[in-house]
């Protein structure tokens, strides 16, 4: 080619008649084309071969397209793209949806069970299964009339069936709808293992728990930051000779008072709850309107026994603790503009038999009378579809590592050993 080009150049530089050079170049190009075509001949057959391969390749592509459309299906079996709990319905039942990380930090600074928090840390995402009890609860919340006194919902079921996480799911729905969240993650923690039990500063026969109260107020502040400046106090609260909160101050100041001054933090909790109760149903429309969601896990602690002792070594009644007393007042339905979501729990409860799980057994007579009437929501073990979904989720997150657990027989063994109980399955898969 180069040789031919040099020849052409020489011809041009000679300055012969243009058309002759033109002819020559054309002739040379033709020659080159001929050579190219001769070179092309084997490639023509190659092209044919390529075409043949392409035709089969097209078939392959067609097959690949089919599998590509089939592949997302296993993913969509256990995950749903609907991240807003307001739009969850029976169609997403058994599928996992992800908590946005920002919401986890704000809404659940203390609310999630410790093993679930570990799972979030390990998998780098917080996924919760959409299950019928939570869907039921959310549908009731959607249809309730908030000008009437609040409905009390009690989630009950055997240990490890998913009461706490269903409560968290419903709470996420409330948060996305802009409600004010009052979440006590475990009422049992307030009736046992208290290091400092101070006699109350305001009333003689009561006992304060400063550490628990101030911890709870800190978490309350994180969850409901945007409400704290809007709600104003309706009464003057006197804490000590020199400290008091005037009427009309924002709620944020009250909360700060409790966080900074540990001594009066339990009374501050009571004041905060009272303010919220009074103002929840007050303004129905407009700027200051808000709906109140009171979520208590382990409600049976409020009416059970404590393991705390007074100074004369007699057992403390739950009634004598300020925090419990104020919570009980909250559980009454003499206010309006919100909902009370509760879950029973035998795991942390004191002096209750391990087999007890029904509301009657766990709440006791006093508790049942106080809570009645309530809407019971039963939570049970996984069914076939939910178990399948959980199994696929663990496979996807690379959690089931033992080769036998990935086989059919291993799956049957897991079903047998766990009886499809969510928490037992989780603990089993942890070391497999």
């Amino acid at each position: 080619m180069k040789h031919n080009v040099i020849v052409i150049n020489q011809l041009i530089t000679v300055n012969n008649l243009l058309f002759s050079t033109h002819l020559l170049t054309l002739f040379l190009l033709n020659m080159n084309l001929h050579k190219l075509s001769s070179r092309l001949c084997p490639t023509v057959t190659q092209k044919f071969r390529h075409l043949h391969i392409q035709s089969s390749g097209q078939q392959l592509e067609a097959v690949a397209v089919e599998t590509a459309s089939a592949e997302p299906n296993p993913l969509s079996v256990f995950r749903t793209s609907e991240q807003d709990p307001a739009y969850h319905s029976e169609r997403q039942s058994g599928q996992y949806y992800t908590f946005p990380p920002a919401h986890i930090q704000k809404l659940f600074p203390h609310g999630l069970p410790p093993r679930f928090q570990l799972q979030i840390k390990t998998f780098n995402e917080g996924c919760v299964m959409v299950r019928p009890p939570a869907l039921e609860l959310i549908s009731y919340l959607k249809r309730a009339d908030y000008s009437k006194p609040p409905l009390r919902y009690v989630l009950y079921g055997d240990t490890g069936t998913g009461k706490t996480l269903s409560l968290c799911h419903a709470l996420h729905y409330c948060y996305t709808q802009g409600w004010l969240i009052v979440h006590i993650p475990d009422a049992h923690l307030w009736v046992k293992n208290c290091k400092e039990l101070l006699p109350s500063s305001s009333r003689p026969s009561r006992f304060d728990q400063p550490i628990q109260a101030s911890q709870w107020l800190k978490n309350f502040k994180i969850t409901n930051e945007h409400f704290l400046s809007k709600i104003k106090t309706t009464q003057r609260y006197v804490w000590t000779k020199r400290e008091s909160t005037e009427m009309g101050q924002p709620l944020g100041e009250l909360v700060d008072q409790g966080v900074n001054r540990m001594k009066s933090s339990s009374d501050v909790v009571g004041a905060v709850l009272r303010e919220l109760r009074l103002q929840a149903g007050g303004i129905t429309e407009g700027e200051g309107a808000f709906k109140l969601a009171v979520a208590v896990d382990g409600v049976n602690a409020l009416w059970g026994k404590t393991s705390l002792k007074k100074e004369d070594r007699t057992l403390c009644e739950p009634e004598e603790l300020t925090l419990i007393h104020n919570l009980r007042k909250m559980m009454k339905n003499n206010w309006s503009g919100g909902a009370i979501l509760t879950a029973l729990s035998q795991t942390g409860s004191l002096f209750t038999p391990q087999s007890a799980y029904l509301p009657n057994e766990l709440l006791g007579e006093e508790g049942f009378d106080h809570m009645e009437p309530f809407v019971p929501v039963s939570v049970s073990n996984y069914d076939e579809k939910e178990f399948e979904s959980c199994y696929l989720y663990y496979l996807d997150r690379n959690w089931l590592q033992h080769p036998h657990s990935r086989s059919e027989e291993g799956k049957k063994e897991l079903i047998f050993l766990s009886n499809k109980n969510p928490s037992i399955l989780e603990r089993l898969c942890a070391f497999l």
């Binding site: 570990l118 840390k121 390990t122 998998f123 780098n124 997150r397 690379n398 959690w399 590592q401 033992h402 036998h404 657990s405 027989e409 291993g410 063994e413 942890a430 070391f431 497999l432």
Partner: protein, 228 residues
């Protein structure tokens, strides 16, 4: 025929009394709890056929209560649990083992999910393979035995049996975690850290193995004192 079998099954005492010995007559075979897949007749080698026939005829020892027929049963892990057990508290030892496996898996899976796609293949997430390979890395190849010659005792380099090597690796792992770590950490935490280090050929147990190898290398001259 019956008389000869009766002679074999009589209550038996060994001719040489050892400290820890099984009271079973050596005629008894070991139990094999695993569910063997039914292999068709043609594929079994003649030795295996003999073994199978033996199993149908000979008496078999009773199985331990810690053996399961499921494929999750791992003899190495059972042995490790037995070695960790104190005062017969098998439940506690097994709990520690499961917590160890869980914490190893958590650390590795966390690393897996946080690493970019290119590096995901290199991270080993299976706690069982980490346990097995980590223990392999701790097994010494050559050991030392004390031999008395001419009034003086010498440390003589000596080959070790498989059982002895496995025992030494596990023993070192457990003593290292019990003694040389911070008092307030849980056993499962200490074990998981040490196993992950052994898997990467680092850590105190692997160092101890290397020290033993160096000692054996140093005492190479006395190798001829071994007569077995």
């Amino acid at each position: 025929m019956a008389a000869s079998v009766r002679h074999l099954l009589k209550p038996w005492t060994p001719s040489l009394c050892l400290v820890r010995w099984s009271r079973y007559n050596p005629y008894y075979l070991d139990p094999d709890p695993s569910k063997d897949a039914c292999v068709p007749e043609s594929e079994i080698s003649p030795e295996q056929k003999e073994l199978q026939e033996l199993k149908t005829v000979r008496p078999i020892k009773a199985a331990l209560s810690s053996d399961t027929s499921s494929s999750f049963n791992d003899p190495l892990i059972s042995k490790f649990i037995n070695m960790m057990m104190q005062d017969g508290n098998k439940i506690l030892a097994r709990g520690i083992m499961t917590q160890t496996l869980e914490s190893i898996k958590r650390k590795q899976v966390e690393k897996y999910h946080k690493s970019p796609a290119a590096k995901k293949e290199e991270i080993e997430c299976n706690p069982y393979t980490i346990f097995h390979l980590g223990l392999e890395n701790c097994k010494p190849i050559i050991g030392l035995a004390s031999v008395q010659k001419g009034g003086k005792s010498y440390q003589v380099p000596v080959p070790l049996t498989d059982n002895r090597r496995r025992f030494l690796a596990m023993k070192w792992m457990i003593t290292e975690c019990r003694d040389n770590k911070h008092r307030r950490t849980h056993m499962y935490e200490k074990l998981s850290q040490e196993l992950l280090a052994a898997f990467a050929n680092e850590g105190n147990v692997v160092k101890r193995k290397h020290d033993l190898h160096k000692m054996a290398e140093a005492n190479r001259a006395y190798a001829h004192y071994r007569w077995w």
